[in-house]
C-alpha cells in the first residue's frame, strides 16, 4: 500500500516536471497560473540592450514634486547595485511601494504619483579602463526617461503604459510614413455573416436591415 502511494507520488511529481517542459517548449499554458513558475525553467528569457532603473515621483496638491525612491528609511538591494523596485520589470508592484512610502512618511496631500523608467545603453556599463581600449570616442552616457504608469493621489492606477523599449519599437514603426499610409488605407473587418453562405462584397454592400443581421462598422461605412 505504502509502495503504491510512493509510486503514485513519483509518477505525479515527474509528470508535473514533464508538463512544465512540454508547456514551456510549446508555449502552451506556460503562464496560465502562478504554479507554472514552479515547473517552467526560463532562466534565460532575454535581456534588454538597455539597463533600466525605476523612480517613483509624486506631485503634491501644491504642485511641488517629491521623490519616493529610494525609500527614506533605506532601500534594499537584493542582488547587486539595483534597488528592489528596479526588479519590477512589468511595473506591477510599484504601486504598493508608492503606497507604503506615502503611508509611512509625512507629506502634503498628493495629486498624482508617477512610475518613471530610466534607461541607458548597456555600452555605458563598460568600465572606463575597458572603454578606452574599445572605443576611440569619449564616453557620453545618456539616460532616456519614460513615464511607465500614472496613479492618483491614493495610488489607484490612472494610466499604464508599455516599457520604454516597447514604446521606442512602437514609435519606430508608427513613424515610418509608408506604414502609416498603408494603415490609413486599411479597412479592418469583422465579418459576422458566414463567408460560405454569402458573398462578402454583396454582404458589404447590403444595408443591415435587408439582411436582418448586424454589420460591422467598417462595412456600414462603405455602404453607399
Amino acid at each position: 500500500m505504502k509502495r503504491n502511494a510512493v509510486v503514485c507520488l513519483i509518477v505525479c511529481y515527474l509528470s508535473a516536471l514533464g508538463w512544465g517542459i512540454v508547456s514551456h517548449t510549446l508555449s502552451f499554458g506556460n503562464v496560465a497560473h502562478p504554479a507554472m513558475y514552479y515547473v517552467v525553467w526560463d532562466m534565460f528569457c532575454g535581456w534588454s540592450g538597455y539597463e533600466c532603473r525605476h523612480h517613483l515621483i509624486a506631485q503634491g496638491e501644491s504642485g511641488e514634486y517629491y521623490k519616493l525612491t529610494p525609500n527614506p528609511w533605506g532601500d534594499f538591494q537584493p542582488y547587486g547595485p539595483a534597488n528592489r523596485i528596479d526588479y519590477d520589470n512589468f511595473g506591477v508592484h510599484s504601486r504598493r511601494i508608492a503606497e507604503n512610502v506615502l503611508r509611512q512618511t509625512d507629506h502634503e496631500p498628493m495629486r498624482r504619483v508617477m512610475l518613471v523608467e530610466e534607461n541607458w545603453s548597456k555600452r555605458y556599463n563598460i568600465p572606463d579602463y575597458l572603454w578606452t581600449r574599445m572605443y576611440e570616442e569619449t564616453k557620453s552616457p545618456h539616460s532616456y526617461f519614460h513615464t511607465r504608469a500614472v496613479y492618483d493621489g491614493n495610488c489607484n492606477p490612472v494610466e499604464l503604459r508599455n516599457s520604454w523599449v516597447a514604446a521606442v519599437e512602437s514609435h519606430q514603426l508608427t513613424s515610418n510614413p509608408n506604414l502609416v499610409q498603408m494603415r490609413k488605407q486599411a479597412q479592418p473587418i469583422y465579418a459576422l455573416t458566414s463567408p460560405s453562405t454569402q458573398d462578402l462584397e454583396r454582404t458589404a454592400s447590403m444595408p443591415p436591415q435587408s439582411t436582418g443581421e448586424i454589420l460591422p462598422a467598417s462595412y456600414q461605412q462603405r455602404t453607399p
Binding site: P34, W73, P78, H93
Partner: protein, 498 residues
C-alpha cells in the same frame, strides 16, 4: 523494466547525498534570507509593500498576507527551522516547516526573494521533507543511537541507516530536468547562439559585481563557443549523469558552469543552491573514498590534518551544544526566541515612526529635476544604437575577431557594426579617412530593425599609401564611431610572389 524501476527508486542505501544536501541547502538559504529578516515587515507583510508573484499572473489576493508582527514571527521561525533542519533535529517536522514557510515567503516577494533559485530550493525542501534525510549525520540519528546505546562517542562519520532512495533519485532527476528546461529556453532565444544575448547579459548590472564578465564582453566570438558547450551539457546532463563514467564529468562541468556564472554574471546564491543539490549525487563509495583521501593527506602532511578533520570538529561542536536538545524545552526556547525577535524588530522601528525628530519626510525635487524625470524620449541617439565597432580579418560565427588593426596593401578585412536593439531601420555608411581626415573610400548599407550587426567587407587597394587611416562609421548620416588602422606596404614574400 519493473525490476529496473524498483532498483532505481527503491534500492536501500544510506542517504549520504541527501544528508549533505540537508546540511548545505539550509545553510545557503540562511545566508540568503538572514539579511532579509530586518525588512521582513516591509517586503512580506501587509504593513509594507509585498510583491506577490501571483499578481504577475493576474491572480490578485491569491495568498493572504500576514500583518507585520506575524510575518516577522513566522520569518524568524523559518530561520530557526532552517537551522534545526541543517543539524537534523526533528528533521521531518523542520523540513515540512521550512518547505511551507519558505515557499510562502518567496511567493509574497517576487521582487527581491523569489527567483528561480528559490523555486529550486522549494522543490529540494519538499523532497527533503518526504525523505529520511535524517538517517545519517543528524542529531536525530545520534540521539537514536544514543537511546539504543550504540553511539560511538562524538563521531561525524557515524553509521547511517539504510532507507529507500527514491526522494534522492527525484532530487537528482529534478536538477536534470531543470537543466533540460533551461536548454529549451536557450533554443527559444536565437540570439543566444550568436553570442549577442550573452554579451548584453555580461554587461548587465542588476546582479553582483562581475568585472571578468565585462572583460569577456570584448571577445564576443569566444562567447559563441561557451554558449554551445553550455547548451550541449544542459541537454545531456539528465541522460548521462547516471552513467558511472559520465557522472563526474557532468558534475564537474556543472561546477565549472555555475562558477563561471558567478565570475562573469555576478550570480552568487544560484550556484550555491545548485551545488547543494549536486551533493545528492554523493554515494557511500564516494564517502569512503574521501575518508581515505583525507586520512592519507592528513598522515602525509600534518598541516592538512586540521583541514581534513574540520567536518569532525564541527560535528563535535554541534553534538556538544545541540545533541542534548529535549523536545519540550527546545520548543519553549524557540517560542521565546521568536517572541524576542518580534520585540527587537518592533524596537528597530523600520519606518522611523517613533523617531525623536518625527516621521521621515519626502525629498523635494526642483522643477528642473522633475522635468528631467517626466520628459519622454521616444528617439534614440544614433551613437546609443552601437554596441561596438570591430575590425579584423577573421570571422567566427558571424562575428569579427579583432586580432590586429594593422593591414598590408592587398589585404582584406571586415568592418563590423554590432548594434543594440531597438534601433529601427538604419542607413549606415563606412568611410575610410586618411591622416588629414579626407574621405578616400566610402560604402553604405541598410540595417533592418531585426538585425544585430552589419558587416562591411573591405579590400585594401595595392596602391594605397602606407600610413595611418581611420574607419568612420555613420548611422543615418551622423558619425557614431571611428577606429584607427595602420596600412603597411606589401610584405617581402608578397612582393617576391608578384
Amino acid at each position: 523494466m519493473r525490476q529496473a524501476f524498483n532498483q532505481f527508486f527503491f534500492d536501500r542505501q544510506v542517504p549520504y547525498g541527501l544528508a549533505l544536501t540537508r546540511i548545505a541547502l539550509p545553510l545557503v538559504t540562511l545566508i540568503c534570507l538572514g539579511r532579509r529578516w530586518q525588512m521582513a515587515r516591509e517586503i512580506y507583510s501587509s504593513d509594507g509593500a509585498p510583491a506577490p508573484l501571483a499578481d504577475n499572473f493576474g491572480y490578485y489576493d491569491f495568498i493572504p498576507l500576514m500583518n507585520g508582527p506575524l510575518a516577522v514571527a513566522c520569518f524568524t521561525l523559518l530561520l530557526i527551522l532552517l537551522f534545526t533542519l541543517m543539524i537534523g533535529w526533528k528533521t521531518r517536522i523542520s523540513a515540512w516547516g521550512v518547505f511551507v514557510l519558505f515557499t510562502y515567503f518567496t511567493l509574497q516577494d517576487s521582487l527581491s526573494t523569489m527567483t528561480k533559485y528559490s523555486v529550486l530550493s522549494s522543490h529540494a525542501f519538499f523532497l527533503l521533507a518526504l525523505s529520511r534525510c535524517d538517517a545519517v549525520w543528524s542529531i536525530d540519528r545520534w540521539q537514536k543511537m544514543k537511546a539504543q546505546g550504540t553511539h560511538t562517542a562524538l563521531r561525524f562519520w557515524g553509521p547511517g541507516e539504510l532507507v529507500e532512495i527514491w526522494p534522492q533519485r527525484l532530487l537528482q532527476l529534478f536538477i536534470g530536468v531543470v537543466y533540460f528546461g533551461a536548454a529549451i529556453t536557450k533554443m527559444h532565444t536565437p540570439t543566444y547562439f550568436s553570442g549577442d544575448q550573452f554579451r548584453l547579459w555580461l554587461l548587465t548590472n542588476v546582479n553582483h559585481y562581475n568585472p571578468i564578465g565585462e572583460v569577456m564582453s570584448l571577445f564576443p566570438a569566444m562567447l559563441i563557443g561557451f554558449s554551445y558547450i553550455a547548451i550541449v551539457w544542459e541537454v545531456l546532463f539528465v541522460f548521462l549523469v547516471w552513467n558511472r563514467a559520465w557522472r563526474l564529468p557532468m558534475l564537474a562541468l556543472g561546477i565549472v558552469f555555475h562558477t563561471m556564472t558567478t565570475i562573469t554574471l555576478g550570480l552568487v546564491i544560484f550556484p550555491l543552491v545548485c551545488f547543494s543539490i549536486y551533493c545528492s549525487f554523493l554515494t557511500a563509495e564516494d564517502v569512503a573514498w574521501w575518508q581515505q583521501v583525507g586520512q592519507r593527506a592528513g598522515n602525509r602532511f600534518p598541516v592538512l590534518k586540521r583541514i581534513t578533520r574540520f567536518p569532525q570538529t564541527v560535528s563535535q561542536l554541534v553534538i556538544r551544544y545541540c545533541g542534548s536538545f529535549q523536545t519540550v524545552p527546545t520548543i519553549g526556547g524557540i517560542v521565546a526566541l521568536v517572541a524576542l525577535a518580534v520585540s527587537v524588530e518592533h524596537l528597530q522601528d523600520r519606518y522611523g515612526a517613533r523617531r525623536s525628530e518625527g516621521r521621515y519626510q519626502l525629498v523635494r525635487l526642483t522643477p528642473e529635476e522633475a522635468a528631467r524625470y517626466l520628459n519622454t524620449h521616444p528617439n534614440v541617439r544614433e551613437q546609443d544604437k552601437l554596441l561596438s565597432l570591430d575590425i579584423g580579418s577573421w570571422m567566427v560565427g558571424g562575428l569579427v575577431i579583432e586580432a590586429t588593426r594593422t593591414f598590408a596593401q592587398g589585404d582584406c578585412f571586415y568592418v563590423q557594426a554590432n548594434l543594440i536593439p531597438p534601433h529601427g531601420d538604419m542607413y549606415v555608411q563606412c568611410h575610410l579617412h586618411d591622416a588629414d581626415d579626407h574621405v578616400i573610400s566610402q560604402t553604405d548599407g541598410i540595417v533592418t530593425r531585426d538585425s544585430f550587426r552589419y558587416t562591411f567587407p573591405y579590400s585594401v587597394p595595392a596602391g594605397l599609401v602606407p600610413g595611418t587611416y581611420q574607419v568612420v562609421l555613420k548611422s543615418n548620416l551622423k558619425e557614431i564611431a571611428r577606429k584607427t588602422i595602420t596600412i603597411t606596404g606589401a610584405t617581402v614574400e608578397e612582393v617576391a610572389a608578384n
